[in-house]
Amino acid sequence: MKRVPLVLGAILAVVLVGGPWLPQWAMFIVTIAFARGLVALGLMLLLRAGLVSFGQALYYCLGAYAAGALGRFLGVSDIVVEMLAGGAVAAAVAFVLGFLLARYRGIFFGLLSLALSMILYGLLVKNEALGSTDGFNILPSRLFGLRPGPDWVRYIVMACAAVIAVGAALLVHRFLGTPLGRLAPAIKDNEIRVEYMGASARYAVHVKYVLAAALAGVGGALAATTVGHIDPDMAYWTTSGEFIFIAILGGTGNVVAPFAAALLYGAIHTTAYDLSPNTWQMSLGIALLLLIVFLPQGLFGRFAWK
């Protein structure tokens, strides 16, 4: 019954203790999986209410650029500060846009979020101060003012990612148990009944939207500091497509699923790209098709852990 906290704790322990023995490339994949998993976790919140955002890359990119701007203009490159800033900027923007988006459902929610993410893309592509299409490099990561040595920096970033991701997952797990969190499937099933119950569907969607954006912002900042470079493609619609793929792969059963799906996606991406660079998208497409048709609950949908 306390399965989720236990599983999350185990994941954290394995990553922190086993981490130093991982090869550098594997640390990179795990860290990126945490970043993408955070975004997918936010998408899962929205998916539970029946909403598909085709523009989550907006917040992913905002988070990344917030982290980048910290280093570029203020000289700050502390991992934790970057991630908090990324999440805060994304949440602030989502709070404002949420007043608009919370009124939308179905295809219009998707298209409006798509338009908003493309607006950011359009702005960044033409902004020379931020490197236009090339983007710019992120300062080397620091932690609490210390600069880890080159052998340790990947591990440090991964450890911070694990701590933050597990913390976020726990928070979301708690949120899913609150009355507001439990409203999501009801909104998906029948919104009018939700209103008759005295609850506000719009308020619930707004809260979920801001939460999802904050998670995506943290994920974006994490990806930025891991990769060491950011560019406007992080806001492009294909990036949003990747996140939707991961969220659907994981399903909406529990908060661990998005991270498992993100890790699986990273592994598939890396191996498939290695084996056959010209057909990996096809394998993704086929997988997505099969998932939607045969496993609409996602790979981990059966495990509706409490």
Binding site: Y104, I107, Y121, G122, K126, L284
Partner: protein, 298 residues
């Protein structure tokens, strides 16, 4: 004054191109309620087919004037090879699903087709400049424009006018409108709705392929060609109202003019304005500028 004139000419040319690209998307949404991401794939398929067929045609020394017909034929062939297969093989089993889920399915198909294109044509770029250069150029206020662009404008008028006439003036077109309004009642009245869906998807995809094949001479045909056109045509169609034919025309003209204004006066916002207009329309009139009020459904 002179600059305004070239803004207008650029705007009209870009609008025409956008309209051809977006027309099929709005048709397919109007009839089938599918927001079709594979539209971009058919655009790319058309571009590749047009480029390679015309390339062979010219290399064999056949009359270059007929290359415009080859572009047309290439689009038809490539559409017939893929569109019926996709509709009959996959999409028809999905119609009962939610609009957003069908969108995801077409996204999956788009990913698959992206690589199918790479498998067929490889990853090297294709160039066919001859049809573009062949027609020479015309002058407006001292600026030279390739006459080929006039061909695009003519095509846009022919396609748009033709489709409007087909929908309102022919028996099949009227039946199609009946299917749009109520597929179930149409079915009860003996209309073969399935066949109309197949025809609509094929014809809508053909329009995308035609847009691609007639764009091929003006660009280098490279992988990823269809990726950008998807969001652009989404923007056009959403601005006018999903599923509306005059809406698509209005959206195309609006986006075309806004873009050409910004290119001439404020190039930094070129991409931004297009999606800004799209977001504003969605915010103020979510069903588009050309839409009727729709009662809220439970």
């Amino acid at each position: 004054m002179q600059q305004l004139l070239s803004v207008a000419v650029d705007g009209v040319i870009y609008s025409a191109w956008l309209f051809i690209a977006a027309l099929g998307l709005t048709l397919i949404y109007g009839v089938m309620k599918i927001v079709n991401v594979t539209h971009g794939s058919f655009y790319a398929l058309g571009a590749y087919a047009g480029a390679s067929f015309t390339g062979v045609w010219l290399a064999r020394g056949y009359p270059p004037v007929l290359s415009y017909a080859v572009l047309f034929g290439a689009a038809i062939l490539i559409t017939l090879a893929f569109a019926p297969l996709i509709e009959r093989g996959i999409l028809r089993f999905m119609y009962a699903k939610d609009e957003v889920v069908i969108l995801l399915i077409t996204y999956a198909l788009f990913l698959i087709l992206e690589d199918v294109i790479k498998l067929i044509w490889g990853v090297n770029p294709y160039f066919i400049a001859e049809p573009y250069a062949l027609l020479g150029s015309f002058q407006v206020a001292g600026m030279a424009y390739p006459t080929y662009n006039l061909l695009l404008v003519a095509l846009a008028v022919v396609f748009g006018g033709g489709l409007a006439w087909f929908l309102s003036g022919t028996r099949i077109g009227k039946l199609l409108r009946a299917v749009i309004h109520d597929p179930e009642v149409s079915r009860a009245m003996g209309v073969n709705v399935e066949r109309y869906y197949l025809a609509t998807f094929t014809f809508g995809s053909l329009l995308a392929a035609l847009a691609g094949s007639y764009t091929a001479p003006t660009v280098s045909v490279v992988p990823g060609l269809g990726v950008e056109i998807i969001v652009l045509s989404f923007a056009v169609v959403v601005i006018g109202g999903l599923g509306s034919l005059p809406g698509a025309a209005l959206g195309a003209v609006l986006v075309g003019l806004v873009r050409s204004l910004s290119v001439h006066y404020l190039p930094q916002v070129e991409l931004f304005v297009i999606y800004f207009v799209m977001a504003m329309v969605l915010a103020l009139r979510p069903r588009g500028l050309f839409s009727l009020e729709e009662p809220r459904k439970i």
